[in-house]
Amino acid sequence: MSCDLRAKERSGIINPIFTCQPCGAQYVSIGIKDCIAIVHGGQGCVMFVRMLFAQHFKDNFDIASSSLHEDSAVFGATGRVETAVDVLLARYPHVRVIPIITTCSTEIIGDDIEGVINKLNNGLLKEKYAGREVHLVAVHTPSFKGSMISGYDVAVESLVKAFAEQTTPNGKINLITGWVNPGDVTALKHLLAMMQIDATVLFEIESFDSPLMPDKSGVSHGETTVEDLKDTANAIGTIALNRYEGGKAAKYLEKKFKVPSVIGPSPIGIRNTDTFLKQLQAMSGKPIPEALVKERGIAIDAITDLAHMFFADKRVAIFGAPDLVISLAEFCIDMEMKPVLLLLGDDNSGYKKDDRIKALQANVDWDMEIIMNADLWELDDRIKNKGLKLDLIMGHSKGRWAAIDNNIPMVRVGFPTYDRAGLYRHPVVGYAGAIWLAEEIANTLFTDMEYKRNKEWLLNVW
């Protein structure tokens, strides 16, 4: 019985779990109000990411491109950034923030982004846009480093660094959510409200789930303002829910402005949500109210109906964002399931030092593998060719064929989940998320039992 932690042995990727860094930075950019990012690179780096967001949210998000063509690749492309900033500002009068997100191509040709920002600040912005508040922020996300996860982390840090400004203490908590869905933000804000805590939520993305209005006014865009970002330096503390998606910014605020920080665990499942509330209590001095005891009780009631009857010893593989995968594994263990394979999809060397992974290594009493720098072939190959037996797969939609081809039920969770309806609306965090996850797992297993005629009569009585 052991938990084996290692990196994928192959050099390449067959069916990736993640896309590259600029996507993560673009996800951060759409969370900011009055912000349209310019991705400095080829047009595909934007077009496909916008399509990915549209597939996941079934909504549109605006992101611009510097439209790198051949000549720019040869002669340098900072001129394209200058034009892009001008065109964007001229046509979008509401825009206050323009992150300039680099890609592999523009990092390789070595465009000086800080230099061009400096030039624009002292030239175009002063001359043509005098009196207009515009912030240009460099976000370096070469695609050949890290993944969309680190791209998210880098972008949050770059934006917090660009804006955070110490003035007067605001008595608030900074809550850095990491790469979550609108449903998660709703659930987190509910917990904060129950605790009567005033928080700056980075990023305020509930409105990604926007309405179709009779007056056609519905727009999907984040609500975090420049003022919110500035004010992060004046908080009583920062809680970054995900170590790998926002942890860097929390550390920066601690180091630079002495804002104490707590990083993780992601509040997925009962235990991690308890931890989160305890952290909030410690940071704010506010008690955990009776109403949350009740809410927790409803979640535990729901899970008790399921765990030992249906979930016990079910073998699960989980892939996706590292904080999500680890927290889901912990929650599955609480629900008597056996996570047997965890796939972490990039080469971050920090995973080995992660206490949560160390705890799995030390304490799991069945055979479990954690693969770093993994791809989805690590899953598919084990099932198809190496005899891995699974009862459930948990992960995002790009892994759908591993489930479909191998006849294994799959719960869609994480990003993106375009092959199921409306998942962005449901939380996985908090007690509400625990209920949703447990019941989604149960209903997925039930449907599978019926579809495969595998003791489907069991549910005649329940």
Partner: protein, 522 residues
């Protein structure tokens, strides 16, 4: 020129020559926007890159090859599972994608060893596949890896394998169109003529420029096979790597999407003397004429006519049912490239809809020429549209339905305009006679959706009725028809199945049709 200047684009005057409003007296000499020029940075254009034009549009529909991109992981991930090019071999090409996962160390020291390792690993992972296509990306192009050299080495080390290399980095040209061109030329230069195909008929074609979106290509091949024609290869929907190496033995290249695949047809004509015949699989009229054109080349007119008669008799009454109810519905035809002219006139003539606007993301002036020639007076035609211009055009033209991509479709949704997926289709295929009825069905379902009727009501302001109950689509659509118009013997809504393609894969065709001596036996 009757250029149309968008209010949102007055600050970028160079955009003015990219849109025209077709007037009463206009023809192509007086009404043609510029096209295929460099994109203006920051406009939020809808264009993609040359890499995706090569790999995603043309390369990957090939069904029996490993598809690999040499670069960071993003290019691969982003162009995976975003299209519906199916195949008859259980969709291997949809399920698997490969990235060499280039990292900083490879950018500094070169990525050739990495590429070689990847190729070998991939062949090992898929022991039943021994063909591979490999694509350059921005990163591998800029560091200058010699991918052909690595491909040669691997082919030597792994006998029986064959590898195709395509050098179309993302920054090559204003749009995905540059990639279409590069992969066409690379394929004919590197691969055509390297396999001798088995010829089984006296009538042999390549079917070129169809990507088997939801089964389009399989539907078209069914017609050709019913005529006794051997389809040597399909470029590239449902296409087989080795069959495409034998393209040079066809008697005729039958070309569908001239935007993405005319290049290889032109080269096949120059190099092997194979004539090019442009056809059109969309619409009863254009498709009938197209089948007849192919038949005429081989002297098979009787067979074509028999197919046309059978298909028209089966499906025309259903198309008529929809035409009545779609007449006057205003649509924007906003696809990527060639569909703007494939569909412009056919949907007007055969479904009765009014095309109020055309646009193309990556088309050239030639595509616009064909589109505008086929468009009605008053049509707004836009080249390389951007986000704000699209919104302004919607407000100006007030369409009921827009045919476009997934993401722009979401923009339309918020404007209370229904959308149909022009690239991947809603419930296709749309080619073929039955497919054309499916297209009409999808437009009808979009336009007369009861939910769409509800979306316009502001419950806080409007005096809406609560005594009316539900409205079916037909209750909504038939309001404007007389009872005689609404009920014509034989005319019904679509009666086909959800899946109208899979059954074609097990269909058999009489072998005697393949010989010219039996041509009269039909």
């Amino acid at each position: 020129m009757p250029y149309h200047e968008f209010e949102c684009s007055t600050c970028i005057p160079e955009r003015k020559s990219h849109a025209v409003l077709k007037g009463e007296e206009d023809d192509l000499t007086t009404c043609l926007p510029e096209g295929h020029l460099a994109t203006i940075p920051g406009t939020i254009s809808e264009r993609g890159c040359a890499y995706c034009g090569a790999k995603h549009v043309i390369g990957t529909p090939m069904k029996d090859a490993i598809h690999m991109s040499h670069g960071p992981v993003g290019c691969t991930y982003d162009t995976w599972q975003t299209k519906r090019y199916i195949s008859d071999n259980d969709n291997f090409q949809l399920k698997y994608t490969h990235a060499t996962d280039m990292k900083e160390t490879h950018v500094v020291f070169g990525g050739m060893d990495l590429l070689k390792k990847n190729m070998i690993e991939a062949f090992k992972a898929h022991p039943n596949i021994n063909r591979m296509t490999v694509y350059q990306t921005c990163a591998s192009a800029l560091i200058g890896d010699d991918m052909e050299a690595m491909a040669r080495e691997v082919m030597k080390e792994l006998p029986g394998t064959d590898i195709f290399v395509c050098n179309a980095p993302g920054f090559g040209g204003p749009s995905q169109s540059g990639g279409h061109h590069k992969i066409n030329i690379s394929w004919i230069n590197e691969k055509v003529g390297t396999v001798e195909p088995k010829i089984t008929s006296d009538y042999v074609i390549n079917y070129v420029g169809d990507y088997n979106i939801q089964g389009d290509c399989e539907v078209m091949c069914d017609f050709f096979k019913r005529m006794g024609i051997q389809v040597l290869s399909t470029f590239t929907g449902n296409g087989s790597y080795d069959e495409l190496r034998g393209m040079h033995r066809a008697h005729l290249n039958v070309l569908e999407c001239a935007r993405s695949a005319e290049y290889i047809c032109n080269e096949l004509r120059v190099k092997y003397g194979i004539p090019r015949l442009d056809i059109d699989g969309f619409g009863f009229g254009p498709l009938s004429e197209s089948l007849m054109k192919v038949a005429r080349f081989f002297g098979l007119e009787d067979r074509a006519q028999a197919i046309i008669d059978e298909e028209v008799a089966r499906w025309k009454p259903e198309l008529e049912w929809y035409k009545k109810r779609l007449t006057g519905v205003k649509v924007c035809l906003w696809p990527g490239g060639s569909k703007l002219w494939h569909w412009a006139n056919a949907i007007h003539e055969e479904m009765g809809v009014e095309v109020v606007s055309l646009y193309t993301k990556f088309g050239h002036q030639g595509d616009m020429e064909k589109g505008i020639a086929r468009a009605e007076v008053g049509t707004l035609a836009i080249d390389d549209p951007n986000e704000l211009e699209g919104l302004e055009a919607m407000r100006m033209m007030k369409p009921d339905v827009i045919f476009t991509g997934v993401r722009p479709g979401e923009v339309a949704k918020k404007q209370r305009i229904q959308y149909l997926n022009a690239h991947a289709y809603h419930n296709g295929p749309y080619k073929g006679f039955e497919g054309w009825v499916r297209f009409a069905r999808d437009i009808y379902n979009a336009h007369y959706s009861p939910i769409h009727q509800l979306s316009g009501i502001d419950i806080s302001k409007d005096d809406f009725r609560i005594d009316k109950g539900f409205m079916t689509r037909q209750m909504i659509s038939d309001v404007k028809l007389t009872p005689e118009e609404a009920h014509v013997e034989g005319e019904t809504p679509y009666t086909g199945e959800f899946d109208c393609v899979t059954h074609l894969r097990t269909k058999t065709y009489p072998s005697d049709l393949a010989r010219s001596t039996t041509a009269q036996a039909v």
